[in-house]
């Protein structure tokens, strides 16, 4: 997969990602002290968390340079993740019309 020569470059990337994750952590905590109303607060917090999560997945878990098969499996999983995450909510908030 990765060649030995690239490793130093990798390490620099890891440290950069580490710094970004720390910064984003403090940003999201900072935002929470602003006491925004619920919708923007949730939107911002989830946006920051998604960026952080993507950084971990792409760089620490090497997802950026992974094989197609893994992408296929994870794509399917993410799709079903949203089904289970939102299916109950959408179903329960859909009013009964008579």
């Amino acid at each position: 997969m990765s060649h030995e020569i690239d490793i130093d470059k990798h390490v620099r990337t890891y440290l950069f990602v580490f710094g970004s994750l720390l910064a984003l952590t403090f940003i999201t905590v900072g935002i929470s002290y602003l006491h925004l109303s619920v919708v923007p607060a949730i939107g911002l917090a989830l946006a920051v968390a998604t960026v952080k999560g993507s950084l971990v997945a792409c760089y620490f878990m090497h997802l950026l340079s992974e094989r197609k098969l893994i992408y296929a499996v994870m794509l399917l999983t993410v799709l079903f993740f949203f089904f289970v995450l939102l299916g109950p909510l959408v179903t329960e908030t859909n009013p009964i019309e008579l």
Partner: protein, 590 residues
């Protein structure tokens, strides 16, 4: 597995325990799964036969064995309602999670898949062993739960709260713990199956040359992998409700038997239903897909012609697997769902019936023009087709919310899904046992005993489940302890309870032929060579029974899985593993 090179030379000296009990050989594990699964099937069947007594003769003492169950279950032989509920809940749980799935996936999947793809074993043999033992622990937990105070779980295999959380806690808690073991087992198994099928296919065995059974197991493994975890999460929540006093599924202001429950409340019983059915609908396909795989193998082999439309089969099963994740709420039409979402789930439910029909049509049309061999496996496989069709078609009215409102929770539902699973899946599993028994033991099972097993089972099955459809349409509720005797509207269909029960007990007698056949054939069955059915797939290239490691030399695959009666070939089957189109004769049985 990593130290193979060092250990290769002394693998013969495995002791009894490592060879037969804590084995890592996929064939031994498969047989362990199959036998445990068969025992649980029998046990679950016994629970149901007890229930059938109460339904046919409500309140009457069970003769002879009735006194054996103790005063907490059947005082002087008369069944208590609580015990009836335990039997119902555990019958469902055991049949689904400890019987059919372990036999279809754990048993046949483990035994056949590596052989059919030409692999020496599963990709992770030790994980495979862990999967079996986790399943075993789950089974033991379920059995133990009968003997704790208050008895086993009483809230049905669906374990709906708040009922599940207001019946005696020990049994329900053990049910949940047992489920966690079973889910862990499925998880380990499915990771193993998918990896094995992707990585260990023999040279030349492309995906479109895979036997359909392998495809069905691949899709099944994905269903288990991705659908089971939500139930595990829900199981933890219910366990917390029971053990730690949380209210995940308990709404505020809940009153049970005239008393307000002392919990914080604020929970949602519907949440359980969503997470449960997110698993349990795909689970239905976990029950049926391996069965379809087995039937396809046997139909192709015994019609002596290629399956009509192999590609449609494959695309259908993949589509079916995908769709099975977005139909779950059709089990919940009467929970007060809005019309938009109800329409959505009705639509997806109607869509998912299309691939099922395609698969059934492919199998049916494959019979056309074949010179069919009516041996025991083929009889079971042929019976599967109309039985599964009845099961499938009776499901359509349940998938449409307006008709579902009338039929929901009646015996119609029981009749419907049993047609899919009992004369459907279980017949296919019997077919598989008769078909692969020679591979596992080197001997054939008796044809005569096989037919004595088949015909009464086939007839009784229909006398058990068809009357239930009639009772259900008359409005007979499925959970009544007295079989509906106290309900005026049920009177016209009550006489059917006796018919159903009698058919169930007669069917039990027919299984005696199977048990005799199974054990007798181990010693007295006709000896067979590697390929007794003149079949084309790779498992028939290995010796019967295959040794540890399966194949003497790594097989190479030259063609598709079902090349029967190829024009110009020397014989009517061209095995995948023969380089020159089947003129090479394997050492068949005489």
């Amino acid at each position: 597995m990593e130290d193979t090179h060092h250990e290769e030379h002394h693998h013969e000296e495995l002791g009894f325990w490592r060879k037969y009990v804590f084995s890592v050989d996929h064939k031994v594990i498969g047989i362990q799964y199959a036998i445990t699964g068969l025992l649980f099937l029998f046990f679950g069947f016994c629970l149901m036969m007890l229930m059938r007594w109460q339904l046919a003769f409500p309140g009457r003492a069970l003769p002879i064995i009735g006194g054996l169950f103790g005063d907490s279950r059947m005082p002087s032989g008369v069944m208590l309602p609580e015990f009836y509920n335990q039997l119902g809940a555990m019958h469902g749980t055991i049949m689904v999670f400890l019987g059919v799935v372990p036999l279809g996936v754990g048993g046949f999947g483990n035994f056949v898949v590596p052989l059919q793809i030409g692999a020496p074993d599963m990709a992770f043999p030790r994980l495979n062993m862990a999967s079996y033992w986790s399943f075993f622990l789950g089974g033991v937990t379920m059995l133990v739960s009968f003997f704790v105070p208050g008895g086993a779980a009483q809230a049905g295999w669906t374990a709906y709260p708040p009922l599940a959380e207001t019946t005696p806690a020990p049994g329900q808690a053990l049910w949940l713990i047992g489920m966690v073991f079973l889910i862990t087992s499925s998880l380990l198994g499915s990771v193993n199956f998918i990896t094995t099928i992707i990585q260990l296919r023999a040279k030349g065995l492309s995906f479109m040359r895979l036997p359909f059974f392998v495809w069905s197991q691949l899709v099944t493994a994905f269903l288990l992998l991705l659908a089971f975890p939500p139930l595990e999460a829900a199981g933890f929540m219910q366990l917390m409700d029971i053990v730690a006093g949380t209210s995940f599924f308990l709404p505020s202001g809940l009153v049970v038997s005239g008393q307000a429950l002392e919990v914080a409340g604020g929970g949602s019983p519907i949440l359980w239903q969503h997470l449960f059915w997110f698993l349990a609908h795909p689970e239905v396909y976990v029950l049926i897909l391996p069965a379809l795989g087995i039937v396809s193998e046997i139909v192709a082999n015994n019609t002596r012609k290629p399956l009509w439309g192999y590609k449609s089969l494959v695309y259908s099963v993949v589509f079916l697997g995908f769709m099975s994740f977005i139909v779950w709420a059709h089990h919940m039409f009467i929970t007060g769902m809005g019309t938009v979402m109800s329409s959505f789930f009705q639509t997806t439910t109607m869509i998912i019936s299309i691939p099922s029909v395609v698969i059934l049509t492919v199998l049916l049309l494959s019979l056309w023009g074949g010179s069919i061999r009516f041996n025991t496996p083929m009889l079971f496989a042929l019976a599967f087709l109309p039985m599964f069709a009845i099961g499938g078609l009776t499901g359509l009215p349940l998938g449409l919310s307006s008709t579902d409102i009338h039929l929901h929770d009646t015996y119609y539902v029981i009749g419907h899904f049993h047609y899919v699973v009992a004369p459907g899946s279980i017949f296919a599993l019997f077919a598989g046992i008769y078909y692969w028994y020679p591979k596992a033991t080197g001997r054939k099972m008796s044809e005569l005993l096989g037919k004595l097993h088949f015909w009464p089972s086939f007839i009784c099955m229909n006398f058990i489940f068809f009357p239930m459809l009639i009772q259900g349409m008359a409005g007979l509720n499925r959970r009544m302890y007295d079989g509906g005797a106290s309900y005026a509207h049920a009177q016209p269909v009550l006489h059917l309870n006796g018919v159903i029960s009698a058919a169930a007990w007669i069917m039990a007698l027919a299984q005696v032929f199977f048990v005799i056949n199974f054990f007798r054939s181990l010693k007295k069955g006709e000896r067979v060579g590697t390929n007794p059915w003149q079949a084309t797939t790779l498992e028939w290239a290995a010796p019967s029974p295959p040794p540890h490691g399966n194949f003497a030399t790594e097989p190479t695959v030259y063609r598709g899985p079902y090349e029967y009666s190829v024009p110009g070939a020397a014989q009517d089957f061209s095995p995948q593993f023969n380089p020159d189109g089947g003129s090479l004769s394997e050492n068949q049985t005489a």
